[in-house]
């Protein structure tokens, strides 16, 4: 079925995949907010939200409805367009990451092989980095456009934090890329499936650095300085209301899911279920098992994020910078050197 030199079926297939993945990400993010409240409650010996629906399962829908029904306030002194652009940008940037994540191997349907990845870009991980660093613009623009001292201060903090931790993150990643030899996420995962061990075995220090930096990039506690409630009133989204605020809060959760997915793909074998031979079952079932495995890994990472958030308090600003520049970057450099030396000695 070729028309005008386009493979229309291919475009439709990709469109369907995009819609499914975007809506699935949003759905998971919706329930991550619920999960966050439940995890927080359980860690603090409380029952958590349990009124809306069975076990409080309708709570995120009620929260969303509340946000939509709220009055939309745009402050007079704000730069209107930028004010509206901010949350949109934050949300877009966090959702764009999902394009290169391999959610599974491939499905065989209607005589076609459907790759469970929106785009197998050969510079996948570089693309992720580019998009993630776009994400900080959402916060910066929002904070600046609000025309509020606290918002501006928080935007500055967010920007400096993101820049500081992106360096260590990139350095940790270089060490990983030296061992994998590819920037494509699909290849990285496939190598781990066929190889003996997951990358975490070769890069434990690299993973630790990457994980801490990912937490900083997502503005999660203990790195939630940009939205420090007690010093900055609420941070960059102080002037926001209604769904624009919802977008900011939501983008944080989508970010969390995406960074979990990327960590699972790069260090924990992506859709690879350990001690299980995929060739023993039908390929379609194997693919679905793969998707389920990746989802479980993502959920475990999200739980880890939440567990850390409800355990430790926020860093002081100088501690944040100390950790970023004096601990993370030297450690990442050391990790890179060691990896390089080992690879060289093996040649």
């Amino acid at each position: 079925m070729t028309l005008l030199a386009f493979d229309w079926a291919f475009i439709i297939e990709k469109l369907i995949l995009i819609v499914i993945i975007v809506f699935a990400s949003l759905g998971i993010a919706l329930y991550t907010t619920f999960g966050e409240r439940k995890v927080a409650a359980i860690l603090q010996d409380r029952p958590g939200p349990n009124r809306a629906g069975p076990f409080g399962l309708l709570q995120p829908l009620a929260d969303g409805l509340k946000l939509i029904m709220k009055e939309e306030i745009i402050p007079n002194a704000s730069s209107k367009w930028l004010f509206i652009l901010g949350p949109g940008l934050a949300m877009t940037a966090s959702l764009m990451t999902c394009a290169v994540i391999p959610w599974g191997t491939s499905l065989h349907l209607f005589g076609r092989t459907i790759e469970l990845q929106i785009a197998d870009v050969n510079i996948g991980i570089l693309y992720v980095f580019a998009v993630v660093s776009m994400g900080v613009y959402g916060i910066m623009i929002g904070g600046w456009a609000s025309n509020n001292k606290f918002s501006l201060m928080s935007a500055l903090r967010a920007a400096s934090q993101a820049i500081s931790y992106e360096i260590a993150m990139g350095l940790a990643l270089i060490a990983l890329l030296m061992t994998t030899g590819s920037l494509s996420l699909k290849t990285i995962v496939a190598d781990q499936v066929t190889g003996h061990y997951w990358n975490i075995v070769y890069q434990p220090l690299g993973f630790l650095i990457f994980f801490i930096c990912a937490m900083a990039e997502c503005n999660r506690t203990p790195f939630d300085l940009p939205e420090a409630e007690n010093e900055l009133n609420f941070g960059y989204h102080q002037e926001y209301s209604s769904m624009k605020l919802g977008f900011y809060l939501f983008a944080e959760y989508v970010n969390m899911i995406m960074s979990s997915a990327i960590m699972a793909c790069m260090y924990f074998g992506g859709y690879d279920l350990p001690f299980f031979d995929e060739s023993t079952v039908a390929p379609n079932i194997a693919a679905m098992i793969g998707v389920g495995t990746l989802l479980i890994k993502i959920v475990l990472f999200i739980f880890l994020f939440m567990w850390i958030r409800w355990t430790i308090p926020r860093f002081r600003y100088d501690q944040l910078m100390n950790l970023g520049w004096k601990k993370m970057i030297p450690l990442a450099l050391l990790n890179m050197l060691l990896t390089g030396a080992i690879i060289l000695s093996k040649l």
């Binding site: 359980i42 860690l43 603090q44 010996d45 409380r46 029952p47 349990n50 630790l208 567990w307 850390i308 409800w310 355990t311 430790i312 950790l323 601990k327």
Partner: protein, 178 residues
């Protein structure tokens, strides 16, 4: 200055070691503590379904009592109002007429009897002051209300249902109390 107790601990001002400065070990220790809390029993009482047991000496909403023939005990002597430290009780007395002997126990009764639950401190002094066993503090508390006026409880709200003429209402009231 002398310390009040001998429990004071000198502050440790040693500089942090390398491992301490990495925070990691202490963070993992902290995470273990929170992890243990996941399996602890929740002390929460899920309120509307579950209710906390009151102690046997709990002093709640007031009840105006009747005798075994269903007649009001109160004679509007005003001792409760005098005893009340919060001045929450007001009443007006009236004389019992011919043919009202089945309603009121004695020749004098309270035509109006009001307690302002916002003023009341539930001390129970009215209960102690009453010579006729007419006022008691029950085991319920005043439910929420939309207006201040709604907290002024009059005789209709306070009087317990008549044992003889309205046994079901009494049983219901007792069921709520329990």
């Amino acid at each position: 200055m002398q310390a009040l107790t001998n429990k004071s601990i000198a502050v440790n001002r040693k500089p942090m070691t390398f491992w301490e400065r990495l925070y990691l070990i202490n963070i993992i220790k902290g995470m273990m503590i929170t992890f243990k809390h996941m399996f602890k029993k929740q002390p929460t009482i899920r309120y509307p379904e579950q209710k906390r047991e009151f102690s046997p000496v709990f002093r709640g909403l007031h009840v105006l009592n009747r005798d075994e023939e269903g007649r009001e005990n109160c004679t509007a002597c005003g001792l409760c109002a005098v005893a009340c430290p919060a001045e929450a009780i007001t009443m007006e007395a009236a004389e019992r007429q011919e043919g009202e002997e089945h309603l009121y126990k004695e020749e004098k009764y309270a035509a109006k009897y009001e307690i302002n639950m916002l003023r009341c401190i539930f001390c129970g002094l009215c209960e102690e002051a009453c010579p006729k066993d007419a006022i008691y503090l029950s085991e319920t508390f005043a439910p929420a209300n939309y207006t201040r006026k709604g907290f002024i409880y009059d005789k209709n709200d306070l009087l317990i249902p008549n044992t003889l003429t309205n046994a079901t209402a009494l049983a219901k009231a007792k069921g709520v109390e329990a």
